[in-house]
Symmetry: C2
């Protein structure tokens, strides 16, 4: 394959790999992590793409979520992309590193339309036209066996990419997603910077707005969303109730689980990740 | 309790806490992590002390090993100490930060006898006289329900503390331990610096030498040791065969599992940690 192998680690009978490749869409080298269950590339019964949140790299979920155990058991491959372009070419851009919620490690899984971001901040095209299809080809898996999930900014990414690209994923789930970015500070900052001040461009990248606008139920098998109630970002940034209303409005089945005492971090993610893997495996099994 | 709470995170129905306390033995504040299974302090059926390896903090195993899931299931509390004294008072000592295998984050779980380390590098006394008894008191658990395990330098620590303090632990296990430090570069460097050039002082802190010298079988319930065969430190640093020989010589039951393809890192630890928790839970159950 065209992926440079940076390192690999045996894990639960499978292998956890870290790769680098030259991305045409991003115009820079990108890193990602790929877990293969026991048996390797052609043994995977399905592929789950997991998008991480602000400040994360391809290593964060890979290292902290403990997802490989259940993935091995279910025969799932896991694809963990990075969260933005990186490197000297982009870290010199004004504003690229000034804050943890914009620029580097804050790509929001969309294609920026505004300078200077439009050149390299093309995470949506990178994932949808390049990385996911290339990994699917390696694994010999199609959309019926590919799901997408994510945490926080990555939950936003999973929901919006799944709604913007019908037929590409068999299943969707999210953990503490930014469910209505048009109305929260993280989203307003990102959308203003990447998409511009004209708010007409924003609903196309807002999971709740996208859901509300669906003509038919996009995921009849249901969405799974987990949210901790001790999450310090819940009230100001996440708006799960907006997604809940939008799903109810169009009849999209949604299992939204609210968990007393759980926060926004990886101890929460680890506590629910097995259920997400099982959710996707069920959809792949039809 | 006398432990300052730095943070806590709900985790698998229990809680992952990070604490700081003033250590009398170390003479400095120390940090540690404590996982409580569902039900809290008084619900724990046993306590497993897990000692981490070189370069680690109290957060490393806590964050990367994925141990909380099985600990919750088995009702075990987990205690993750730090790996050395830290802070400005000790980082200014000559040699404290110059290398990753000596000084800060490399306490080797012993009491140093050599200047300048003897003042603060008292990890054995810290653990055995202070932290472990204090946590046992909080949990209402005695030695019959306390086990010790560790990885690499922490595997050395678990084995040596268990052999040097009979009756303190019901069970012992290790993952890729430094099993014969007197003869490997890591151990020779640490023992020379902390214990001095006189090698007569070394066997008392060398797991294989200690085992060989036991008058009777110290752990009739058996030891569990896991070792990856793709571990880049195996040949030069770890010497599991020395421990194997010593156990055979005195009749100590040992399950030493050699795993093809696994390396020295946390992807290996995560892959076997459930078996270690189950091993200790079995000993606690009698």
């Amino acid at each position: 394959m065209a992926f440079e192998l940076l390192s690999e680690h045996a894990s639960f009978g499978g292998v956890q790999r870290f790769h680098r490749h030259d991305s045409t869409e991003i115009g820079l080298p990108m890193r990602f992590a790929l877990y293969l269950p026991p048996g390797g590339e052609r043994a995977a019964k399905g592929l789950l793409v997991f998008l991480a949140g602000l400040t994360c790299t391809e290593e964060t979920f890979t290292m902290k979520a403990g997802a490989q155990r259940k993935a091995a058991e279910l025969g799932l491959a896991l694809l963990m992309p990075d969260t933005s372009p990186r490197g000297e070419a982009v870290s010199v851009l004004p504003g690229a590193t000034a804050s943890w919620d914009f620029g580097i490690a804050a790509g929001f899984y969309l294609d920026a339309t505004q300078a200077p971001w439009a050149t390299h901040w093309r995470m949506e095209s990178y994932l949808m036209k390049e990385l996911v299809p290339q990994v699917q080809a390696v694994l010999g898996l199609d959309a019926a066996r590919t799901g997408i999930a994510g945490h926080s900014m990555g939950g936003h990414g999973a929901l919006t990419l799944a709604l913007r690209h019908p037929g590409t994923f068999a299943s969707v789930s999210a953990i503490a997603p930014i469910a209505a970015p048009s109305r929260c500070p993280w989203g307003v900052k990102a959308f203003t910077g990447y998409l511009g001040e004209d708010r007409d461009a924003w609903p196309a990248h807002d999971a709740s707005a996208l859901m509300q606008a669906q003509a038919r139920v996009p995921y009849p098998g249901g969405l799974l969303v987990d949210q901790g109630l001790a999450d310090k970002f819940l009230v100001e940034q996440l708006y799960p109730e907006a997604l809940e209303s939008a799903c109810a409005a169009i009849g999209q089945p949604l299992t939204l689980r609210r968990h007393d005492g759980y926060d926004h971090g990886y101890y929460f993610i680890a506590s629910v990740i097995d259920d997400h893997l099982a959710h996707h495996a069920r959809q792949f099994a039809g």
